[in-house]
Amino acid sequence: MIANLSPALILIIGAFVVPFLPRVARSPLMLALPVLAMLQLWDLPFGAHGQMELMGLELTTLRLDKLSFVFATIFLIAAFLGAIYALHEDDVVQQVSALAYAGSAIGAVLAGDLLTLFLYWEGTAIFSVFLIWASRTESSYHAGMRYIIIQVGSGVLLLAGVLLHYNASGSLEFNLLNLDGSLSHWLIFVAFGIKCAFPLLHNWVADAYPEATPGGTVFLSAFTTKLAVYSLARGFAGTELLIPIGLAMAVFTIVYALLENDFRRVIAYALINQLGFMVVGVGIGTEMALNGAAAHAFAGILYKGLLFMAMGAVLYRTGTAKGSDLGGLAASMPWTATFCLVGAASISAFPLFAGFASKSLVLSAALKGEYFWTWIVLLASSASVIVHTGLRIPYFTFFGRKAGKRHDEAPGNMLVAMGLAAVCCVLIAVFPAQFYALLPYSVEYDLYTLEHVATQLQMLAFGALMFFVALRMGYYPLPVRGRLLDTDWFYRRFGAYVAAVFAAVVRWAWSGVEYAWRWCLIMLERWVHRHYGPDGAMGRSWATGQMAFWATVMIGAYALIGYYYLR
């Protein structure tokens, strides 16, 4: 392979070749590019490459170490699986934007300096929005607009922070930054926080992801938020503030996932829920915790992608992903149902499925560090996953109702993508040693002890029991049509009220200005009429004596002024 070529550029350059190819060549290229980029990634030695100087700034456009390697690897796997999943859609816009988006995310992960990070950071925002707009509905258009404003906002904050940081330190290197009270680091922290869906900054995930096309959502779920987790792990590892932030993410999303009717939106809330575990891991900051965050990002991309794929397939075949309209699809779509169950088992951290291998690391790091409340809250969040996503989604989509409309099974390429993702989910949990070898730090962790497996099975069994007991007794919140209030209320409703009030005030003030202006004009007109009208002093004809008198006054005045002036 070409020395020092960034795997990111393979995807981005490839993306812009796609539209010029004949239809038959596009799909193979979509599949070949992630494979080529993967070969290039594995071929590159660890270290800094692609140094360049731009207007006196030292840039390292490609830095490969264990932390960036694991994220770049899973991003490329996600790009490959996403490309297979979207193979049946011959939409050039989606193909270009998906490849360029994946490339930008990989470029950002491999960036060794903050300016390169910023450029790719904005790349992920700009290219990804087309995946939302590709739905070509009015609601997706509006959701995309809100999404791009928030994403570009994150980029602007990042740029401001980077410039201030450069001004203060004279370096653009992207290493540990720490929240030491400097404004620049706070700006960068908030920029990362927006993309990482921190509480109150989170809503774009649940707002925009479910509006994208089935394939678009699979791509979206993989990159942006995990790029933010990587950036936090790189820049703010061990920042204790991240622990309460992560815990809040892991808790409040439970309520939303339980109430939401659109199952792709449920997965989006579950995605934020799982991000909480990663953020806590970064906040704890020990080697084991950072490993846990990276492992959970890796596993999360696979099983969240798998769940989005399954619900995307349901949406593709039935035209809806709303829980209130679904049920009994297992008979029509048995393979999709099976893969969805694998994804559900993975997110619930069932032993032998992906989530178990990764979530255990974060929980154990909290235990080892003796963070009691952190551990309790994470355990609570972990226990509830089965109730809000693990059972809710497969149960209400695929089971229960005996007679339902028949639908075709998902297209072959979707099944292949789901199958591969499901196999990956199982493999990383069945061979945890090989999976842990990918992680940034060397781990001594025995996953399959009797204690781990038995306690996890207890949590799952009792959680499942609560699910079915509540269902039987009528206390489980069944999926009903409706719209959940979230922080988007502030800019979609409250913001609209504020704008309306502001508009009213401005209108009122303007009418006051207009009234005052008209009054001034009327007064002026009256004054002019009084003095220059037919009877005004200036309008009427004057007697000669009067003229001579005023001429004398004027000449006298000139003489006086001239005298004082020339003296």
């Binding site: 551990w375 089965i386 038995a454 069994a461 009528g474 049509r481």
Partner: protein
Amino acid sequence: MTGDDGTPQRNDAPEVAQWAVHSQGTSRIVIALLAVCAILLVADYWIHKHGPFAIEYWWGFYGIFAFVLCAIALAIVWLLRAFLLRGEDFYDR
């Protein structure tokens, strides 16, 4: 399903979802799960735990914790439901 004022009504779940409540299958699953939970609880007696917190060593802590936690989560959802869940066209009106 929503009422006249656009707020969702508790017993107005669409027919499509009602099957889940009344199906006999649910009862059978509950019985099976009760059996599994009982076995796991009994087995917990022989499992050696190694964590730093005393609470972990309580008999059946993980299972009972998960059960109670899920119950609390569902209770909170019932409380917040009326406030959070609005008509589907909430933002279009």
